[in-house]
């Protein structure tokens, strides 16, 4: 029987929605503190070299300049911007506040603190730096082949791994093998809000940091360890965030801003400009993957062997973890009797990589799904039919991580999506002649629901009911822009049957809200949401206990509805409002309505999305338009439907850009060529199709009301669906992303040449 929900599955505006549409919500750039100073960074213009000398005499003359910092007057203690918890494994401390040896164009050389941003900016332009240039290695190939130049003391390989599970089954059937290579490029997260933070070190020795981060407790760990402060003396307050997509998961500027605040004893604010965001934060890494599969002629996968090389940029950051996760996605999606994946993260003198929406899944799944289309083509099978034979089934085991995939409904996503998209008809009746060629593509993707299985995945919260019946959820919520505060309200409202407007949700503040590791691994709805549900249930129990005392009935004879408690099993129903209960609880029962809970996640099922794209390619110009798009998702249960759809539509915008046009190229001097929105192209409203979203909702896992993650999975198969559609339109095998007009025209020219022979 279908469950009826009153709030779950409805559409509600995001938290602080009114303040967002009126311009009243203060983001980091809007916050001003008394006596605040402004900081501006000086970034390296060369990819590799020693900072020999810094002459600040001209800069110091700028009125308003307070202090100028560089490695000459700053501590040289190494730290990792990726560390969330102390002693975290695979976390290499290899950077300092300011570089003595700069390792990429954009490395941090110096900073000016001044009484105005204009003064700081002017002073930075007047600093003279003398560099001793060193040879630069700009690609993983160069870095692997060059034994003379070491980017990091440990060499040029940040991490290597091999995963090898299962065996190739014996078969009497004829088999084919297929090999392919896919390149996925660096992209900019492109949160519209530039990075920044504010720090203040007061006379009592307390350091307060205001920052739009994905983890306040992570900021605390890194900063407290770096400056030898007590964890309790570092207060980190999460600010409203103007988008993140993984770009604000590391603790990039809190250390250097805190240092400047500690030195000047005044609040210091650092806000980056767009070029700095592109060259000096983090990028999605470029990855090259070779894939070889063995498949029976009837379409059963027997073996998949992959080898991936990831360009980490100049420092370690998330490299060891991130590159390893490339091997942890494929077996969430396909049943593969023998799976082997080797890989490495390589240092280069280029812009640093970091966690990006999907964390390795968009990279490896793009390669796998482009490959699967090539296999289907070689077998002469429909790509949907081929995939259906090999996708995972509900409650399969992830053979790499040894975790249950839970109620994995990817097959249903594919079959229902194919029907809704009219796949068969459109795939078989495409016009492949003429200037404009139409094609369709499909791709499947898998992702996770939290960190369980390898990292702390707990959260603590307190939910209290005030004497007027309103509620405060005190929790370390980090809204990264998808309205997670509203999701918490929906969950609590559903349990207690009350209006969302009665609930206030805090954002994270290390001094006042309970421990939560942060926004990682698509854990928030699944784990933090489950905690909110459990906490609300505990509070409901307290409400009923107090109502029982007031009404003189055992709580088993009471039920809640619409903000009230009703008696059941009596001829005449009696009713009492939450407000009356809350008030009487305090006044007459001497009790408070206050539920606290710490939730530990004990599962990590797969989340799935299958996406269908239709493209039209202009064979004269090589330009591709995406003309139709369907995103299907195994979501378990949609909590805030409108926001779920919006997140998918946004993810598809990012994924189409990944497929067709977004890229940060580096020139032969190591300089990023796409360092502004004028030359880094994202899709606009005119370029985007109307993205349709189909949600497959089955409960069966531990998320609140069965909900599973969507923030990352929504972006996983998009690029492959688009590239497969282009290949379908043109009869090509393009796999070098982004599939730009020049690559399309080159492929068509090659096709013509081969055809003429």
């Amino acid at each position: 029987m279908k469950k009826e929900f009153k709030y779950v599955g409805g559409t509600f505006p995001c938290d602080h929605g009114v303040r967002k549409v009126t311009g009243d919500l203060d983001y980091c750039c809007d916050v001003k503190l008394p006596n605040m100073l402004y900081a501006k960074l000086l970034l390296s213009p060369i990819p590799h070299g020693i900072v020999k000398k810094i002459d600040t005499s001209r800069a110091e003359k700028v009125p308003g300049v307070i202090k100028i910092f560089s490695h000459f007057n700053a501590p040289d203690k190494m730290f990792s911007t990726y560390r969330i918890i102390p002693g975290q494994q695979m976390c290499i401390a290899d950077e300092t506040l300011f570089a003595e040896r700069v390792k990429y164009v954009g490395d941090r050389v110096a900073a000016v603190v001044a009484t105005s941003f204009a003064a700081a900016r002017e002073a930075v332009s007047l600093i003279d730096v003398e560099y001793e240039e060193l040879p630069a290695l700009l690609t993983p190939e160069e870095a692997l082949n060059n034994r003379e130049v070491k980017i990091q003391p440990r060499g040029n390989v940040a991490h290597e791994y091999v995963v090898d599970v299962g065996d190739v089954p014996s078969t009497t059937e004829d088999c084919i093998t297929m090999e392919s290579e896919t390149y996925t490029q660096r992209i900019h997260h492109a949160a519209i809000e530039p990075h920044g933070c504010i720090a203040y070190y007061d006379s009592s020795g307390k350091l307060t940091i205001w920052t739009p981060t994905q983890s306040v407790y992570g900021v605390r760990t890194v900063v407290a360890e770096l400056f030898d402060l007590k964890y309790s003396d570092v207060r980190v307050i999460k600010l409203p965030i103007g988008g993140s997509f993984g770009g604000k998961q590391e603790f990039l500027f809190e250390p250097v801003t805190s240092f400047m605040a500690m030195e000047t004893k005044r609040p210091v604010k650092l806000i980056l400009d767009r070029e700095e965001c592109i060259v000096h934060t983090r990028v999605r890494p470029e990855v090259k993957s070779r894939i070889k599969t063995t498949v029976t002629k009837s379409g059963k996968l027997l073996e998949l062997v992959a080898d991936s090389t990831l360009n980490a940029g100049a420092y370690s950051g998330a490299a060891p973890d991130y590159v390893t996760t490339l091997s942890q996605k494929v077996c969430k999606l396909y049943r593969i009797p023998h799976y082997r994946h080797s890989g490495r993260a390589v240092y280069t003198n280029t812009v640093r990589f970091g966690g990006s929406r999907g964390w390795g899944a968009p990279e490896i799944i793009t390669a796998v799904e482009i490959h699967m289309d090539q296999v289907a083509k070689k077998l002469g099978m429909d790509p949907v039919e081929f995939r259906l034979q090999n996708l995972v089934h509900p409650y399969d085991m992830d053979q790499v991580l040894h975790l249950s995939l839970g109620n994995a409904r990817v097959i249903e996503c594919l079959t229902k999506g194919a029907e809704a998209f009219r796949w068969k008809e459109r795939y078989n009746s495409q016009d492949k002649q003429g200037r404009y060629r139409r094609g369709v593509g499909v791709a499947c993707g898998a992702h996770k629901n939290g960190m369980y299985g390898g990292f702390i995945d707990s959260t603590s919260m307190v939910l209290k009911m005030n004497e007027d019946g309103s509620l405060n959820l005190n929790a370390s919520i980090h809204d990264v822009g998808c309205g997670i505060g509203t999701v918490m309200k929906i969950i609590i409202a559903e349990v207690l049957d009350i209006d969302l407007d009665l609930i206030t949700v805090t954002e994270a503040d290390t001094e006042y809200t309970g421990y939560d590791p942060g926004v990682y691994g698509s854990r928030v709805t699944y784990v933090v949401g489950a905690c909110a549900k459990k906490t609300a249930e505990l509070l409901k129990d307290q409400i009923l206990e107090n109502a029982a005392l007031i009404l003189g009935k055992p709580k088993e004879y009471l039920r809640v509805e619409n903000g009230c408690v009703y008696t059941v099993g009596e001829a005449e129903k009696r009713v009492i409002t939450y407000k009356e209960i809350a008030e009487k609880a305090v006044r007459e029962n001497f009790r408070c309505l206050n539920a606290a809970y710490t939730y530990y996640s004990t599962s990590n099922p797969g989340s799935y999305s299958v996406q269908f794209a239709e493209v039209v390619v202009d064979t004269l110009t090589g330009l591709t338009s995406v003309t139709d798009f369907l995103a299907v998702s195994d979501i378990g249960r949609a909590l805030n439907r409108g926001m779920v759809e919006g997140q998918f539509q946004g993810a598809v915008q990012m994924g189409i850009g990944y497929a067709l046009c977004e890229e940060i190229k580096i020139d032969d001097k190591g300089r990023p060529l796409n360092n502004s929105f004028a030359n880094y192209h994202m899709l606009t409203a005119l370029d985007m199709p109307d993205v349709k979203v189909l949600l497959i909702e089955h409960e069966g896992d531990d998320g609140p009301f069965g909900a599973k993650s969507i923030g990352e999975i929504s972006n996983v198969p998009t690029a492959a669906a688009v590239v497969n559609a282009v290949n379908n339109a043109l009869g090509t095998s393009l796999s070098d992303l982004p599939v730009t007009p020049d690559k399309i025209l080159a492929a068509l020219a090659e096709q013509k040449k081969v055809g003429a022979c």
């Binding site: 967002k20 549409v21 983001y27 949160a191 919006g646 946004g650």
Partner: protein, 160 residues
């Protein structure tokens, strides 16, 4: 130099540096921080305001160009505590996620509806083509603007 202008119906006479950008004038001098800076080069549209009925990137307008002009910013959309219809529809249609592009998106939409109360989808998409959104992929924004345009309610906050 001395300039005279109106922002959200209020008159100002200010002595400004000729190189001051309109966005800084609004944010730093007048405290109207609803207008956001995402790129500083007119590409992202977060700083869009309406100047004499036209949507402009306030990061590309210098203070002297504002002399004698009327500016409408996101703070001027709601009237007497009542949200503009566009603001209401943005909220109802889940067109607001992180919210950083929202003020600029709203102002581009407002400028369109002031000139063209019943735009086609193509006209809506063209009007907001200079506003980048990374969260929501535009569909919800387009739907919200359509809903605001389709409604017969009079939209408050209209600049004469």
């Amino acid at each position: 130099m001395l300039i005279e202008f109106k922002v959200n119906g209020k008159s100002y006479n200010l002595d400004v540096c000729p190189s001051l950008r309109l966005i800084d004038l609004l944010r730093d001098e007048l405290g109207l921080t609803g207008t956001k800076e995402g790129c500083g080069e007119g590409e992202c549209g977060s700083c869009t305001v309406i100047m004499d009925g036209k949507a402009v990137n306030s990061c590309l307008v210098l203070a002297p160009q504002v002399d004698g002009k009327e500016i409408l910013t996101v703070e001027g959309l709601a009237q007497d505590g009542q949200l503009d219809l566009l603001q209401q529809k943005f909220l109802e249609h889940s067109a607001v996620e992180c919210g950083f592009c929202t003020p600029g998106m709203l102002m581009s939409a407002k400028a369109l509806l002031m000139k063209n109360p019943h735009p086609t989808e193509e006209e809506i998409r063209t009007a907001i083509a200079g506003n980048l959104c990374r969260c929501a992929g535009y569909s919800k924004v387009v739907a919200a603007i359509k809903a605001a345009a389709g409604s017969t309610d009079r939209s408050p906050g209209q600049v004469e």
